[in-house]
């Protein structure tokens, strides 16, 4: 296949990725958000596989396998295990209604397209939508970290940011060097596992996972 055809595929996958993230922005159910994280992993894996086909290096193939195991399977599983440890499984006191969240999500996407237009990072495959959507994922993840109040929602937002960076790395440079990529995904995995455990302990100790309740340390 020629590179332009592959770029078309990557663009379509990136747009799908944006759509699932907008679902994540609107939902108040943590379970749905975790499913979305799994979808993000699956779509990232698909992008990595297409790149591996296009670039054809063993490194790219290994990167695709790594993305599949960690971002598609293990991270969502860990989050799911953490969800079973916390008492409250919905954002039951949302800061903003779903419609307002969606509006902000769309605005952030527009901002991302502007930014990517100013700083294009042409990579091995000429894709038009992948980089702006990667930046959109990062911005939306940041926004979700501020707007969500449940501890686990913040972890999910963090994973969204990391996935955005992973997508940017894939399309700009066909991934980071192997050793670095291994370390990155390992850190992500351990980080998510630890945050899940901590969220469970907070849920037990405080009888709530609202991070607003974490207000004892001041000054």
């Amino acid at each position: 296949m020629n590179l332009t055809a592959l770029a078309g595929w990557i663009d379509q996958l990136a747009i799908l990725l944006l759509l699932v993230v907008l679902v994540q922005v609107m939902t108040h159910r943590l379970a749905t958000a975790i499913v979305v994280v799994g979808c993000q992993g699956a779509l990232l894996t698909a992008v990595a596989v297409i790149l591996a086909v296009g670039v054809g290096s063993s490194h790219a193939i290994f990167g695709a396998v790594l993305t599949a195991t960690v971002r598609m399977i293990l991270v969502p599983l860990f989050l799911w295990a953490a969800l079973n440890r916390v008492a409250v499984k919905v954002e039951n006191q949302p800061v903003l209604p779903a419609a307002a969240m969606l509006v902000i999500g769309v605005v952030l996407t527009l901002v991302a397209y502007e930014v990517a237009g100013a700083y294009p990072l042409p990579g091995p495959i000429p894709s038009r939508h992948a980089l702006p959507i990667a930046i959109a994922l990062i911005l939306i993840g940041m926004f979700l970290m501020i707007a969500r109040r449940k501890a686990l929602s913040q972890v999910i937002a963090l994973v969204t940011i990391e996935n955005g960076i992973a997508l940017a790395a894939l399309v700009a440079t066909a991934g980071m060097p192997l050793a670095v990529e291994l370390g990155l995904t390992f850190d992500l995995l351990v980080g998510v596992a630890l945050m899940g455990v901590l969220a469970g302990r907070i849920s037990q100790t405080f009888r709530s996972t609202d991070v607003d309740r974490l207000r004892e340390l001041r000054g």
């Binding site: 490194h59 700083y119 970290m145 960076i165 980071m176 060097p177 990155l184 901590l198 974490l214 340390l217």
Partner: protein, 485 residues
């Protein structure tokens, strides 16, 4: 390079022994292995200062890295030694279960491994990986007591630093992109050594953007205001040996990463851009820390804000640069690490004895604890920069460098802040050490404390008057590397 591999891997042995060795061999064994690991690290450091950088490819140690390795080895070892008595006391007081110290040693030495990895790799990608690993391991230690406060601190620390450091990852990606296009080749495009050599060929647009992302990202971890909110919580809730390492070593590790990127940015953009940003963030951190030092009532939070102040001073010194600025920055880094470890240890002993961290309820420490009390006072004087301490020397030379290189306003602000901090520290510590302790407080202290506390204090006081030739040569090598010949 086998030696460098060993340096990074050695603390793992201490971690495993601390976790799995039978009976009382757990704490003794971890200390023995930690001693060996530190000696090994020091061997590598000495080889670097005598024979130039060692290693190639992934592992690489140059004078700047060696300085950091030395500090990790020194403070890390002291923490491992202090932890034994400290944790026994906690187990006796039933704050910890009997097997928890074993877990402590496991995470503590893994934490040290991650910091050694930061200093011994030349790949900016692996630096990121290692710094993120330090967050994970140290977050476990911050939440070690599992109280409400400890959990809150650990959560804040983990979330803020992980989110912050993802900015640094994006910055690293941008630099990698710039590097691939200028240097080519995969792994080599992340090497700070090669990036600095080819800095002139990098896309200035990208480097500027990358530096901002990296500064914010690692700055969060280094405790720059306004991203510092996790810092006082984490430092105050962590077990004392961990507080010492967090403050004396971990913050400089993050600053080290910033300095590496700063050197690349200077090569591409000239000195103005990144230096100004370093100075601005540094000054702002110092200024934000001042009011919290003045009104503080918790002794460990006082020390935490003091760390924020000192990391700010170091950032300003690295930003001003030149022979004097860089010399002040590196010497300050070393002495702050020793001094802050000392203060956290004495503060830990004080809080154990008085059963509170509230400074208003600690009185007459000099009488109750005949060694720790006076050492706390003297250490606070040193850290606040009273002459003839080494920190007085570095702060004065920094101000001199600032005034003589056209950073007059910055230097005046810094001078005002330093004076206020001096007054604040002296007020708090003077109130705690002087006077008469309440009758309920047990008096007296074992001679062991004397060795533990007085030796580092002696070093600090001594360094203000006389810098031994070997240290001087070492620091000059670091300064030359940084570009302030």
């Amino acid at each position: 390079m086998v030696l460098l591999n060993l340096v990074v891997v050695a603390p793992l042995a201490a971690a495993l022994v601390g976790r799995f060795a039978p009976g009382r061999w757990s704490d003794r064994g971890q200390l023995i292995l930690a001693t060996l690991a530190s000696l090994l690290a020091m061997t590598a450091v000495i080889r670097v200062f005598n024979g130039g950088p060692i290693g190639n490819g992934t592992l690489y140690l140059d004078p700047l890295g060696a300085l950091l390795v030395a500090v990790v080895a020194l403070v890390g070892w002291a923490g491992a030694a202090y932890a034994i008595g400290y944790l026994r006391h906690d187990v006796a007081a039933q704050r910890l279960a009997a097997n928890q110290p074993r877990w402590f040693y496991l995470w503590y030495h893994l934490f040290l491994t991650a910091m050694l990895a930061v200093a011994t790799t030349e790949s900016l990608g692996l630096v990121w990986v290692a710094i993120e690993a330090t967050t994970v391991f140290s977050a476990i230690l911050v939440g070690f007591y599992r109280t409400r406060e400890a959990l809150e601190a650990a959560w804040k620390y983990l979330i803020i630093c992980t989110a912050g450091i993802s900015f640094a990852l994006f910055g690293t990606l941008l630099l990698y992109y710039a590097g691939v296009h200028a240097i080519g080749g995969e792994a080599s495009a992340l090497s700070w050594r090669l990036l600095r050599e080819h800095a002139g060929a990098l896309d200035p647009h990208l480097v500027r953007l990358a530096f901002v992302f990296l500064l914010v990202g690692y700055g969060t971890k280094a405790g720059f205001a306004p991203f510092h909110t996790w810092l006082p919580d984490a430092h105050s809730q962590a077990p004392t040996p961990v507080s010492a390492v967090l403050s004396g070593v971990l913050l400089p590790c993050a600053l080290y990463a910033i300095v590496r990127v700063h050197l690349i940015a200077v090569g591409t953009l000239g000195p103005a851009f990144s230096s100004t940003m370093l100075i601005a963030f540094g000054l702002f951190s110092v200024a934000v820390a001042v009011p919290f030092i003045l009104i503080q009532h918790d002794i460990k939070r006082l020390l935490a804000y003091s760390s924020m102040e000192h990391i700010g001073i170091m950032a300003v010194a690295f930003g001003i640069g030149g022979p004097i600025g860089f010399f002040a920055a590196t010497l300050h880094l070393v002495m702050h690490a020793i001094g802050k470890a000392l203060l956290f240890f004495t503060a830990g002993t004080l809080t154990e004895r008085y059963g509170t961290r509230n400074m208003a309820r600690i009185r007459g420490a000099a009488q109750a604890l005949p060694f720790s009390g006076p050492v706390l006072l003297a250490g606070a004087l040193v850290l606040a920069g009273a002459p003839p301490s080494g920190l007085f020397l570095t702060e004065m030379s920094l101000l001199f460098a600032g005034f003589s290189t056209g950073y007059g306003v910055a230097s005046v602000i810094l001078l005002v802040c330093l004076t206020l901090v001096f007054v604040g520290m002296l007020f708090h510590v003077g109130r705690m050490t002087l006077g008469v302790p309440r009758a309920a407080v047990v008096r007296g202290e074992s001679l062991r404390a004397l060795l533990f506390f007085v030796a580092p204090l002696g070093v600090l006081g001594f360094l203000g008057i006389f810098i031994p030739p070997s240290l001087d040569v070492a620091l000059r090598q670091v300064v030359a590397l940084l570009g302030g010949v």
